[in-house]
Symmetry: C2
Amino acid sequence: MADFTKAGRQFELRVPGFRAAGAAAGIKKNGKKDLAVIVSDSPASVAGVFTTNTVKAAPVLLDMKRIRKGLASGLIVNSGNANACTGKEGMRNAEAMADMAERALGLKKGSVLVASTGVIGVPLPIEKVEKGLPFLSRSLGYEGLGPAAEAMMTTDAFPKKTVMKTKLGGVEITLAGIAKGAGMICPDMATMLAFFFTDARIKAPALSKALKAAVDRSFNSIIVDNDTSTNDTVLAFANGAGNGGEIKEGTREFDSFAGLLTAASTELAHMIVKDGEGATRFVEIEVSGAASEHDARKAARTVAESYLCKTAFFGGDPNWGRIIAAIGRAGVKMREERTIVSFNGVQVVLKGLDTGREKEAARAMKKKELLVLVDIGAGRGAARVWTTDLTYEYVKINSAYRT
Amino acid sequence: MADFTKAGRQFELRVPGFRAAGAAAGIKKNGKKDLAVIVSDSPASVAGVFTTNTVKAAPVLLDMKRIRKGLASGLIVNSGNANACTGKEGMRNAEAMADMAERALGLKKGSVLVASTGVIGVPLPIEKVEKGLPFLSRSLGYEGLGPAAEAMMTTDAFPKKTVMKTKLGGVEITLAGIAKGAGMICPDMATMLAFFFTDARIKAPALSKALKAAVDRSFNSIIVDNDTSTNDTVLAFANGAGNGGEIKEGTREFDSFAGLLTAASTELAHMIVKDGEGATRFVEIEVSGAASEHDARKAARTVAESYLCKTAFFGGDPNWGRIIAAIGRAGVKMREERTIVSFNGVQVVLKGLDTGREKEAARAMKKKELLVLVDIGAGRGAARVWTTDLTYEYVKINSAYRT
């Protein structure tokens, strides 16, 4: 991978041709920012990846329809209300929200996408969206992605944002991403939203392909708990405002662009994992030696979702029996007699048997970051996922009766 | 179902033709009972259901092979060591354990089954089994199932045992069951073992069919956490010591027998759920209106395995958004606009929308037992599962470094 990952944070959070704003419209009761708009100076190619939950919030259903055109001019996002489980009224409100944004910003009908995050089952106060739009419209600016990221926050401890640049065919392109999500926290608000903006020139099908690959290796590889929100949405907008030529599939430029998008997605995904209020450790689980990448991912996910593994990570207990038992129930091919397990570099299992190095491993686990490597000896497939530990604090936060 | 479920506890724990004993052989460091044998006076029909974990402990592999004959004379069980992840030596030890029991008890070679539960990855101290057998052999008695149940305990707070009687074709049969398991506790020991003994006359294939149905509706319908042990084993022995005729598939007698086995299994399964040290609530989740029973079970399991639902159960929070989001990601057909959710009889969702009765539901949830009913409006399939809440205590117990 290129060197953009480290350099990324030094750039200003702005992308040629994209204006944004974020403000408090009164949807949140605490007076914090809760409404954002992002607009492209010219219609942008657009691609999206949405929640796989059967129950999809109204804005998700609307975006899934609108995105088929492959072009969009903007996005309106609110926090404080998810507009989920709100029936037909919810669908009308999602459409009204897009309409209002299009009128306020002078955009074509049907060209604005919508995202919502917050409480489930409560009607969206659409009149607050309407009242907030004139101010937002006046505030739009090329430095507005930061305030927009803040307006997406629910229980997030910090806004998630990144910007990266790379050269494609000698011409610099910029990619910015903003996200919200802190899965360990208040469940109704555990939605993950991530939006990318680039001045690269790329058509919607190619953009979609790059986005899907990036999401698989980043947002779909983090497991905070095992729940999927009704509102999860990832969108990418490419407006071609830069000087570069079109990025076509099957070229080196496409691979570089897809790599950039994956790096930005991974950075935001890690921020989401690290924002778990209840979490004390950031855990990377890497499974190799699987019969396929699919198997490796399944095995790694099963460990990351295991109650017993996650409590052992919290306790700093090199409990390899839990790891092997979890992978054993993942339903993947595994050669027990070849299995290797290590915690932060200390091998505790070799050829499926205890190495007697548990005390050493326990010492190595006393860090904020934990790397669990497992080789299951059945092939060459590998995958990694990121997760957190399961803590008292997680139970406390999530069992508190909502107020 | 017949009336045996309530009457069951009044009978003495003994079954004609089965002798048993349990004693301390020094496998456990705390001096508690850790070795049991159960012997049938004549070879018994036998059936088994085993862990679906890819990683299977040596005794499980041995039993899976031995059970194919459909006949067995006895069973030897130890606690304190799971003989799992112990390689070839583990397999040799499991076979040696059976051999020793056969010799000590004067039984035919290959006629004894084996079960182990306890720590993973540590070689079984087979010499302690050998030393313990003479005393066990002398102690065998018809009232020995109680001590045998105690010798199977690991972190169980109490031994699990039940005995039921019913009349089949005018002749009384007895069925006893003993089990161990307390899933919320120390993971290496979270194995579930359950053994049934009856004086009914039934051939192995029919016994196997009845046992599989019973296990599906009982042990496979409890979810304490989402982990499956490498050692889970359920066995049923039927020695025909009673005066009844053979129970054949497709008869009323078979249905009664299968019902009895299901009732006994369900009773033991509920005891296992209730024995979760960390648990404060016993939760029954019933999903109806699914396209199939399979879908209903999948939906109910997804709720029971959800971190967010389980913490809400702990907090007594009627958080129906979490229930709907969990079922939504279960991958089953669901009609959101017809969905109904109730907590302990208080409907919080009707036609997919909030009924405004959350405060009432929160009051209704202030009980040790919680019934969650969900109708997903897509068909006539129904299923129920039993689980517990996710508590501080669970995290505490499971994150403690093993000593």
